[in-house]
């Protein structure tokens, strides 16, 4: 094996060991996790850029390893600061489990398809669950959803990888079964619509650095699997491509719309992850269908970009005092640095040039526009352009809402006035990710060179924006200015303290997106009027009911009802039991006689 990777894994192991022996050992995290991140980044990039094939480190695996490495590099220092706010007993467990989780993810990339892969895959899920469950009662539903989905994913992979191992069996329709298992297994992990339901439940409840690792790293392994499966199972059947494109595009729109109805800061980020993942899956599916290099470029580039900006955003969310958007506001004053990092992340995530997110959409558009013409079904792929445009616009709105409501304006609650900025290590972690994101945005070729990418003039654009913008800003700032209250239609009076505007006059988290949500038929908006006192003005509370979630609830209810039906067999009646025994005997005898 590559000595860099070995050293990195040893670092992670040492960290866990230290957490066991000399708790809480969180002080070593920048060195152990961050250091291993650096090593993995180097090793992975080396393999990726060299275009290595097969074992021990395939180029594709190298790419993902670099991606994980970059995340660890940022999360390592951050975690040291973050865990210092936890109780020592819990911090100790986290400092023990997290490196193992990190190592399991790396292991997945190194493992050949088979027992070792499944072992690490399920182990990864287990560690993730434990880390999430440590959140206590709040994390209950989320961690459970995560674990359940992980097992579903594992089941799909069991099916696929075992069938794959039986080479002799691969005749007839079994090929399709293998790919069905792969799509189920990796698709669930990569939040393929409509198997994504776990993600928005799980990621918000995890602690911020873990959310960053999950959203930035772990879910990408699903994409890795699907891409890499080509090596294992041969080219996929056509339906796989169509399925991924159709579900991916639908899921991207759905996730953004649903994200606009979300009030939880990290929930919005989670839905944005679902959107990105589905778009990536669509890109991969389209690549399967058309083999266009644009899709491959889009696929790889955005994974790196998403890992970085989502890592940045999730890490930034760690400094927020509460998660509900309707209780945040004005945080840029208390958290200027976090606001700046998050702004950078939001710009990238909204897909705006010259940052990384745009390049992805740029490739995607060109890929879809290059769909073959004519009467064939694949010519319909060109409509993907419209979906990507819609997704782009929605993503921008989503991030405006997220950043605007949380960091700008006036605080909507007293909690929002008590936020505290992260200290040095926290800022270091964020800074590392931000730096990498900026580097990736401006020098995409550094990463994409194996794929020989076409580019738009990103660097000149950036320099022009920075130069001219800096000049203009300098100019305007030097002009005379006054500080005054915002415009309040002239209601301002000396009796009132300052402006007549109150924080409640700002748009509410759901109010902001209400009109947009009405565009999407699968979301049903309900307004509840409630009065706290008899004569008080009624309060309007908006509630969103999501068709998919309604279905999910019904499914759960149905399953529970089924379970209760079966339980009636165990009714407590000994006579029924004896009868059952008798009937079983008769059944078995009947089969024997037949």
């Amino acid at each position: 094996m590559n000595p860099l990777i070995e050293t990195a894994l040893i670092f992670l192991g040492m960290q866990s060991l230290l957490a066991l022996l000399r708790p809480p050992a969180t002080g070593f995290l920048p060195l152990s996790l961050g250091g291993s991140g650096l090593l993995l980044l180097l090793a992975g990039l080396g393999a990726w850029l060299a275009g290595a094939r097969g074992t021990p480190l395939d180029a594709a695996a190298g790419f993902y390893m670099a991606l994980l490495g970059a995340l660890y590099l940022g999360v390592g220092p951050y975690l040291r600061e973050y865990l210092s706010h936890h109780e020592p007993s819990r911090a100790r467990l986290e400092a023990f489990l997290l490196p193992l989780f990190a190592a399991a993810m790396v292991g997945v990339l190194l493992a050949p398809p088979g027992y070792a892969f499944l072992f690490l895959w399920e182990g990864m899920a287990l560690l993730g669950y434990l880390l999430m469950a440590l959140e206590g009662p709040d994390g209950l539903a989320g961690s459970r959803a995560f674990f359940l989905a992980s097992r579903l994913s594992g089941a799909g992979l069991f099916l696929a990888l075992i069938l794959l191992a039986h080479k002799g069996l691969r005749v007839g329709g079994l090929e399709h079964l293998v790919w069905a298992g792969l799509v189920l297994g990796f698709g669930t992990k990569a939040a393929l619509f409509p198997l994504h339901a776990w993600l928005p439940k799980a990621h918000p409840v995890a602690m911020s650095p873990l959310s960053a690792l999950l959203s930035g790293g772990m879910v990408k392994l699903g994409l890795y699997g699907l891409y890499r499966a080509q090596d294992w199972a041969g080219p996929p059947p056509e339906w796989v491509g169509w399925l991924l494109v159709a579900l991916g595009l639908a899921g991207a729109v759905y996730a953004l719309a649903r994200g606009l109805a979300e009030e939880d800061y990290k929930g919005v980020l989670a839905y944005s992850s679902v959107e990105n993942l589905n778009l990536l899956l669509a890109a991969l599916g389209a690549y399967f269908l058309l083999k266009s290099p644009f899709f491959l470029l889009a696929f790889f580039f955005q994974q790196a970009a998403h890992a970085l900006f989502k890592g940045l955003l999730f890490l930034g969310s760690g400094a927020l005092p509460v998660r509900e958007l309707s209780r945040l506001g004005g945080l840029h004053r208390l958290l200027p640095r976090t606001a700046a990092w998050s702004f950078l992340g939001a710009l990238a995530a909204a897909g705006l040039p010259p940052l990384a997110g745009f390049l992805f959409e740029w490739y995607l558009y060109q890929g879809f526009l290059a769909a073959p013409r004519g009467a064939g079904a694949s010519s319909l792929l060109v409509l993907g352009v419209g979906v990507v445009a819609l997704v782009g616009a929605l993503a921008a709105v989503s991030y405006v809402r997220l950043f605007g409501l949380a960091f700008l304006g006036q605080p909507r609650s007293t909690q929002a006035m008590t936020a505290r900025e992260m200290g040095g290590f926290g800022q270091l972690g964020l800074g590392v990710l931000a730096g990498l994101l900026l580097g990736l945005s401006l020098f995409p070729t550094a990463l994409l060179s194996p794929l020989k990418p076409p580019l738009y003039p990103v660097l000149p654009l950036f320099l022009a924006l920075m130069g001219l913008g800096g000049g203009l800003v300098y100019w305007v700032r030097r002009k005379p200015q006054r500080v005054y209250d915002p415009w309040d239609c002239g209601f301002h009076s000396p009796d009132l303290q300052g402006s007549a505007l109150t924080p409640q006059m700002q748009p509410h988290a759901l109010g902001y997106s209400e009109q947009l949500l009405r565009l999407f038929p699968f979301l049903e908006l309900k307004a509840h009027l409630s009065r706290e006192e008899m004569l008080a003005p009624p309060k309007v509370r908006l509630e969103v009911s999501d068709w998919l979630e309604v279905m999910e609830t019904r499914l759960t209810r149905g399953y529970t009802a089924l379970a209760h039906q079966v339980q009636r067999l165990q009714s407590g009646s000994l006579h029924l039991y004896l009868l059952l025994q008798f009937l079983t005997l008769l059944l078995v005898l009947g089969v024997v006689w037949r």
């Binding site: 287990l126 206590g136 069991f158 000994l574």
Partner: protein
């Protein structure tokens, strides 16, 4: 030597009838089990009369003795913590039970095997009953009735086999030779009775009714013994008969039944688990699932895999029941809804509970993951699908109680006066540790070697 081995457990049993000091009772029982553990290692392949200790017997004997010794130690602490003055009942019945188990594993005669299996039913009924009470009584009664009928059906099977062997012998070695000449149709008939009979004791799906009742009402160490060792003995009997059918060239016929019952148990267990409110019943249904899986593995024609499965299951389930015993001590309730935030109240137990339950849910790095993988690896696509579906159902059923109890809301630190006795934690920890080590390095080779005595033919 084998007779010594057979009767060793009767000594502590007699002692238990006289002594009342829990600590000495626990010590004597554990000492007896450890002694037989050592002896059985020396006694491999010895024969005496109808007794003979071959590889498979040794495997289960070692497992049983080990678990019994650990559970006996735990039980000392458990009864002390629950201020149970009648711990001697547990030790008396327990050692009697161990005697029956020894007999079953040492017996090299199918009739004798039956007798000891029935004996283990009776002894374990005493274990379930323990101190009585309405619920325990109800559970014991149901257990006794269902178990007796089941075992009687098994006896019909034994008689038919005996008749088919020409009424010559029930000795295992000779039976395997003779069975080749037997009428296949009638051997199948005999197997039907054996399957339903011993299947009742294994707890296969529609025959499982006694299992959750008995497991939930017995005191926790007894539940651990039932799940960790009693189910194995019935499984062991089926293993022998399946091998017998294999010798007769009828394994294909048996495999269909074994696989169907295994999968049915697995699938049903998922549904039973999902709506479960009592954590000890939860563990009991999980036993039904795993015995189903072991039977399925047997049906695949891989005895060593089935044996390995029962080994891992016994370790994990014993640890789980002992942890559940700790919960019962701390929370005084068997309802899942009454237990919460164990990870704050009693971190050690929480850790054990999590690890043992996750192990039972078939997650790496524990052994059940390995055996489930191996079983899947050898299944047909359809069976694989059902198997995976069943595993998912079971997992869904186990996950919520686990999350709820360990990490959910609860009284937290305010639990007054937790029993601070080391053995309560150390014993299950030893089991979990063993399960972990064996899971990381599955002793496949050893088990395969031991299972060779079955000289499995498909």
């Amino acid at each position: 030597m084998l007779y010594v081995l057979l009767f060793i457990p009767l000594l502590p049993a007699l002692y238990a009838l006289r002594a009342r000091e829990t600590r000495w009772l626990a010590g004597s029982a554990a000492a007896g089990a450890v002694l037989s553990l050592g002896l059985s290692l020396l006694a491999q392949n010895q024969a005496a009369g109808p007794l003979r200790l071959d590889g498979v017997g040794l495997f289960y004997l070692l497992l049983t003795d080990l678990l019994f010794a650990l559970v006996a130690l735990y039980a000392g602490a458990y009864f002390q913590a629950s201020q149970d003055r009648e711990a001697w009942r547990f030790y008396a019945a327990g050692n009697l039970f161990l005697f029956a188990m020894h007999g079953a594993y040492l017996a090299h005669n199918l009739g004798l095997l039956w007798i000891f299996v029935e004996g283990s039913t009776l002894a374990s009924a005493l274990l379930v009953y323990h101190r009585g009470g309405a619920r325990a009584l109800e559970a014991t009664w149901k257990y006794l009735m269902l178990g007796s009928v089941g075992i009687a059906l098994g006896l019909i099977g034994v008689i038919l086999v005996y008749a088919l062997l020409g009424g010559a012998t029930l000795d295992w070695q000779m039976a395997r030779e003779l069975v080749r000449a037997a009428n296949p149709a009638q051997l199948k008939l005999a197997f039907a009775f054996l399957l339903v009979g011993f299947g009742t004791k294994v707890g296969l799906f529609p025959l499982q009714a006694w299992l959750p009742d008995a497991h939930s009402e017995a005191p926790s160490p007894a539940s651990a013994l039932l799940s960790g060792t009693l189910l194995n003995v019935a499984f062991y009997a089926l293993l022998r008969y399946a091998a017998l059918l294999g010798s007769a060239g009828l394994f294909g016929f048996a495999a269909g039944f074994l696989q169907s019952f295994g999968l049915a148990s697995l699938l049903a267990a998922g549904l039973f688990l999902f709506a479960q409110k009592d954590y000890k019943r939860l563990l009991a249904y999980s036993s039904m699932e795993h015995m189903g899986l072991a039977i399925y593995a047997l049906g695949l024609g891989i005895p060593w895999l089935a044996m390995l499965h029962t080994l891992f299951h016994s370790l994990a389930k014993t640890a789980a029941f002992l942890s559940a015993g700790n919960l019962l001590l701390a929370y005084q309730s068997k309802l899942i809804a009454r237990v919460g935030a164990v990870y704050r109240a009693w971190p050690a137990t929480a850790g054990l509970l999590v690890l043992s339950l996750l192990s039972l849910a078939g997650l790496p790095p524990f052994g059940l993951f390995y055996t489930e993988f191996q079983a899947l690896f050898r299944s047909s696509p359809l069976a694989m699908g059902l198997y995976l579906l069943g595993l998912l159902g079971v997992f869904a059923g186990l996950l919520w109680p686990l999350s709820r109890m360990v990490f959910g809301e609860g009284p937290g630190m305010s639990l007054g006066g937790l029993p601070r006795i080391r053995a309560l934690v150390v014993v299950p920890a030893a089991l979990v540790g063993l399960a972990l080590i064996l899971g990381l390095f599955p002793p496949t080779g050893v088990v395969e070697h031991l299972a060779e005595v079955l000289s499995w033919k498909l």
